[in-house]
Structures are given as structure tokens and as C-alpha cells.
């Protein structure tokens, strides 16, 4: 088989301050991959910064939310004939040194989706605030129970996908707070998922899109969405 074509998708919304560092990190990670930034309707000129770095950018005309932005990346990968796509957040939280590890289960055909998890040994470094860890634990338990597969970091947006997973998610991907829900969708469509231990960092600039006031809304929304997903008709794989 030919060398698989790999695309790194970086969704970014108002990440002018973080994005160039993130792009440098990605270029330095030593994986032969193309790079595309999905600018989710940023108002701070993120697109311009990305173009100045010589990186391709798909600029959405208005803010779709992380789900819509990442899905645009999946469509991009399919349209342009990539075999594998890696999702890395534009805020620099994901340590690009682990992209290689993340690609292993996909390239060896062991899984359709690889998820970088902060909660698998041996690293166990930065793992978010206590409150958020409780939330993650809740979703991990809920999803592990519903899908009968052990998931430890369902909110991680550090992921790799093969073409099968890309085709599913290009067609159907949850719009806001998509990460936990997409695991359930993948499971229902018969895709296999593998978690890979990674390290993450705290954000360099700005706030995460999940702020304290929204925590309750987030928890309720995602829980309901996951439970509703379980009721949806079976996807064809």
C-alpha cells in the first residue's frame, strides 16, 4: 500500500494569540502530514495569522461551534482524498509530541478512532481542574456503561480518524460539545475506538469554551444528548 495521506485538522475560534505557536509545534512534531486550520468565524483575524504562517485555512463565514468546525475539517479530508485525519485544538492544549502515538492504532488498522487520554498511565500530568475532572469522570462512566467499552477521557478533542470514521462524522457530527456524544455515535455505527495515553497542557491565552457558568448546562445537555443518541436508529456502518 502507498504511504497513507495524513491531514491535521486544527479548529480555531479567536485564537490569534495561540495559533502560530500551535502551528509551529505541529510542524515540529515530525509527522509527514498536511495541515489545515478551520477558522470558525473568528473576529480577531485568526485566518490572517494562519495564512501568514503559510498554512491552508478554511474560513467559515460565521461561528458554527466546535462541532461544525471539526466536521468541516472531516469534509475537507474526504474531499481531498486523505486517508487519516488528526484533530488538534488550536489553543495549544494538546502536546503535539503525541501525534505519532495517536496515529499508531489507526495506521495499524487496530481502531477507526484513536482518542488521546489524560487518564491512562504512564503520564498523568496536567489533568484539568477538580470540578472538570469530576465531570469527565461522570461522562466516562456513563459512556463506558452505555457502550460497554472502557472510556477514560470522553471530552478529549485530541483524536485521529481513519476514512471510515471520517465518512461517518462528515455526514453526522454533534454541533456543540461534540466529543462525548461522538463516541456514542461511533459505537452505534460499529466503529472501534482506542484510547492512547497523552499529556495535555493548560491553555496559554484566553478561556476554554467551557466556562464555569455553563458547566451545569454542558453537563445536562451532553447527558441528554447521549441518552437520546442511544434511542436513535442504528446507523449503517
Amino acid at each position: 500500500m502507498d504511504q497513507p495521506r495524513i491531514l491535521i485538522i486544527v479548529p480555531a475560534f479567536n485564537e490569534k494569540k495561540n495559533i502560530s505557536r500551535t502551528l509551529e509545534d505541529i510542524r515540529a512534531c515530525g509527522v509527514a502530514a498536511d495541515l489545515v486550520v478551520i477558522d470558525d468565524g473568528s473576529q480577531d483575524g485568526t485566518s490572517g495569522v494562519v495564512r501568514a504562517c503559510g498554512v491552508r485555512v478554511v474560513a467559515l463565514p460565521f461561528n458554527l461551534g466546535i462541532g461544525g468546525a471539526v466536521q468541516t475539517g472531516f469534509c475537507y479530508a474526504l474531499r481531498n482524498g486523505y486517508d487519516v485525519a488528526v484533530q488538534i485544538d488550536g489553543d495549544g492544549q494538546h502536546d503535539t509530541a503525541y501525534v505519532k502515538d495517536l496515529l499508531v492504532p489507526i495506521l495499524t488498522g487496530k481502531a477507526d478512532i484513536a482518542v488521546g487520554s489524560r487518564f491512562i498511565p504512564p503520564f498523568l500530568g496536567y489533568r484539568s481542574s477538580f470540578v472538570r475532572r469530576l465531570g469527565i469522570l461522570f461522562f466516562a462512566s456513563l459512556i463506558s456503561f452505555l457502550t460497554r467499552c472502557r472510556v477514560t477521557d470522553p471530552t478529549s478533542g485530541f483524536r485521529a480518524f481513519n476514512r471510515r470514521a471520517l465518512a461517518l462524522f462528515a455526514d453526522e457530527y454533534p454541533q456543540d460539545y461534540p466529543e462525548p456524544e461522538s463516541i456514542v455515535l461511533a459505537h452505534k455505527s460499529g466503529l472501534t475506538l482506542k484510547e492512547v495515553p497523552v499529556e495535555m497542557r493548560a491553555r496559554r491565552h484566553g478561556h476554554s469554551s467551557i466556562r464555569y457558568l455553563y458547566t451545569l448546562y454542558y453537563m445536562t445537555k451532553v447527558t441528554l444528548a447521549i441518552l437520546l443518541d442511544m434511542l436513535k436508529r442504528q446507523q449503517k456502518g
Binding site: 474560513a59 467559515l60 463565514p61 458554527l64 461544525g68 466536521q71 468541516t72 469534509c75
Partner: protein, 117 residues
Amino acid sequence: MNAKILSLAITSMMLILIVDLVRRKKLTFKYASGWFLVLFGAMALAFFEESVFVLSRALGFELPSNFIFFAGLSGFVVLSLLMTIFLCQQNQRNDKVAQKLGLLEEELERLKKRTEG
């Protein structure tokens, strides 16, 4: 008797308004049909007012007016649910178009660069 005339007058005016909106293409028939249904129902009840009493008694309402309020409210709940469905559909289409637009713009940019370079 006055109530009958008033309700017939109001429903007729609404009917004329909606027909006019469809005529002026401010409303498409697809979206007007729900309104027509509700209006025809209301007109029928206003015209044959005896049926209101019969229906309300049969359904166990103490007062016919309660029945009217209940029926009206139910009608609007259905209409607003339909509205929400249409809204969601529009929202999804909107998002799809935005994604496509972004992708095509990027492709165009790349093509331009290739032809220039």
C-alpha cells in the same frame, strides 16, 4: 350572537390576510397550510356554535369557554412545534451551506494560486 359575529369576523380577516401573504409570496403554501387548518377549524366552530357545547360536554369540560381556550392553546402548541422543526431544518441547512462555502473558497484560493504560480 355577538361573539359568533366577532369570531367569524376575526377568523375571516385572518384568512384573508394569510391568503394575501401567500399571494404576495411572503408565505409559501407549505407554511401557510398549518394556519389554514387552524383557521378553518375555528371558523367551523364559530359557525356551528352548537357543536362547541356538544363537544365540550362530551369531553367533560365544565364550561364551553374552557374548551375553546384549551382547543386554541393546543392548536398553537402544534403550530409552534412545527415552527421549531422548520427552524432546526433551516439551521442545519445554513450550517451545511457555511461549511461548503468555506471549503469551496479554500479550493478556489488554491486553484488561483496554482494558475498564477
